[in-house]
Amino acid sequence: MRYDSVLDMIGETPLLRLDPAKHGVPEAEIFLKLESANPFGSVKDRVAWGLLRAHIDEIVENEQVVVEASSGNTAKALQIIASMHGVGFRAFTNRVRVREVREMLSLLGTEVTEMPGLSECPDPTAPNDVFGVIGDLMAAEPGRYHHTSQYTNEDNLRAHYEQTGREIHRDAGSVDLLVGGLGTTGSTRGAATYLRERNPATAVVGVVAAEGDFIPGIRSAAEMWEVGLFDPGFYDAIAAVDSADAISASLELATRHGVLAGPTTGAAYAAARERLLAGPGGPVRAVVIACDRMEPYLSYYRHRRPDLFGAASPAPAEEAPSATPGDLEAWVAAGEHVVVVDVRTALAFQAGHIPGAINLRDDLLEQVMEAGMPFSERSRVVFVCPTGDRSARFAARAAASGRKAYNLEGGVLGWRDSGRPLAGV
């Protein structure tokens, strides 16, 4: 099919019917709405273009900068559309937590302002949520910015009502169940509104991350109250899924159905199947929104399932040789070469560490060790963390590959509490 603008390629995504023999829910038809087929890779392409389409000429003419609260797919799509039109884009977010997403935004030149701890959507009780910060920015230079405001803008719903919902109905007919992840809630609500106009009995399940867990792109139930567009009464159920189930379900989609979809899709698929299996049975037609692809989340998968990445099952931490503060001092006094590796964050290291230690925080050390074991076989290497529980596995791993490696008993805390000095940076 020929296109003259990539923007024309947004929407009209495939609806894939999953093989019933493989999904295993009796009498159910399960469709995936493959939003990953959008040109920039996600369900958010429709929203980004839907929010900008009617304003872009004005934005270009007035040389405005587009601003939005987003840490992921929306920011990516807005950045691309803004760049294509020669205008600037700035993203404000409380966190970008997935490495590939962060790297993709850097590559595209997005100016990301991270505001840890701030709510990303309008929050009536916080004096300066990200919305307030955007508001201040806009007030400081009136006319300079265009805020697309995906969390409150009805155009977000409209894009999914006019396109996603309509396409699903056209391709699948009347739908009994629609399941999708909740970020701004735009995709599920917009599409479901259309579907319910055709079949008022359409059940809608919104999927969130289990409390205290993290699934990129969607929120946890406790975070939903902040979302301006969120209307709890709209859903037949809000399903909380944990990241382990989301990952397993997305792997199943990949291996059984050939669909490479990200963890949110896995979460939605898991929730859909659970609801169908618990339901009354009988013929039912369900649609799951597949928001984006799997590849941008490799680091997420790796972090949560190192076993899938050929990580040799790590040497048990209990097997780590240990050293006391006295041993350490004795080795240094005897003129041996000793490397003390402090695996805490930079802030903690700066605030106080064992004199002479180097700082390699645990998640980075993990990556380094995956690539290969650093440190000379002749040095003694002593790993330290606050209490000695977290550094043990590094000591065990280094010892298993032939290093003279030790875990410091009692950690930095024990060192400090025994009256030994700490150094600050």
């Binding site: 409380n94 966190r95 937590r97 505001m115 840890p116 701890g117 701030l118 009536p124 009780t125 916080a126 004096p127 300066n128 805490r344 964050t345 930079a346 802030l347 903690a348 700066q350 605030a351 106080g352 925080r361 963390c385 606050p386 930095v412 805390l413 400090r416 000095p421 700490l422 150094a423 600050g424 940076v425």
Partner: protein, 449 residues
Amino acid sequence: MSQRFPLPAARHPLAARFLDDAAAVGEAIERFGSPLHVVFPQVIAENAAALAGVLRRHGVPYEIFYAHKVNASAALLAETSAAGLGADVASAAELDRALTAGFAPDRIEATGPKSPAFIERIAELGVTANADDLWELDRLAAAAPAGSAVPVLLRLSGFASPAVPQSRFGIDLADADAALETVRRAPGLDLRGVAFHLDTADPAARVDALTESMAVVAAAHRKGLRPSVVDIGGGFRQRFVDDPEPFQSYSQALAAAAPGELVWPGHDPSVSHKYANHRPTTEVLERFLAAELERRPVAEVLRECMLTLWIEPGKALVDHAGVTLASVLYRKRAAGRDLVVLDLSRNQVTPADQEVLLDPVLVDGHGEPPAEGVFLAGRLCLESDLVSRRKVFLESEPSSGDVLAFVNTAAYQMDLSASFAGGHPPPPKIAAVLEGGRFAFVADDHHGS
């Protein structure tokens, strides 16, 4: 006829039970008089447990110091002592009360600007001094005998981050080195750690202040000092309403209303945000601990920094731990408006520059809600002595002798501005304890915190 815009207050079950028990309210007023402040020690214990629960759940080593300045009540102070909290005292008088309430000196911390006499007592008892200024540190160094180890926290301010509200308190970060040097040289002082206090709900402000404070912790280590505490003060929010919606409708109505319709003429009708809060008192702390710093939750960073987290909540601890009762003297019409005159003055139920924005409860009220709202007038000679400058909407018609209850007044509202103006002493205070289905009352007077 105007529309009703009630702003109903959230009621703790214990307060609700008391106010629904007209006989108990009647007994209290009969024995102790009207107006009357009533505090509920059982509620402060509950609030303390909730805050401690959050800190435990996040796995941070912690201590909670009750900021006694929030309420002069001896009963509330004694309850926090029994609950194992520490006390944050802001004057020699508060220090004495804390000692009387059973706090050992090592569970007491002194904050705020201090007089020389107060500093002497701090040094003598070995109470932790949260130093507000270099001048205080010098005095403290002179007062602490060699060989003693008077614990010192440096209250910091002058943070570079624009998210951190500016403060007139504390030692400017630029002077932190001089402060550390003073402590290092003083033979009787022991640097316990660093401190700040931010009256904001914004987790980012505390995260930024924490980050900047760490530079002082590092500098302390360079000097061979051994800080082990970071004290983030108080400033956690109270929960005044169950539902934020009435506030939203009210603010909209206020913007649209004719002048003088919803607000007494000549007064600024701005809506104070604090009364609109429906989120739990623990939420600010929870969000701070869960906020990310170096892509790790703050709670974990604190553990890594090997710092014990101290907090000094005042209002979050006494949230819902008190109500204020006042009797209706009479009703009248004045300036074309309905007034309910109370035997109370404005400054006895709120700092005078603020407004109690929630509707009081009419104890033992009956019948339909009146269609019209009323203004509540105080008994002082000042035109400004309106207890409510906003029109309030009561649940039923009040008349002479009825009792109105202002809910959730234990935080700063009871004693911060109360005066003897007009020869009226501040209202007496009692503690009400629910025992076996009945409220027991004891006098709890401690005026002029």
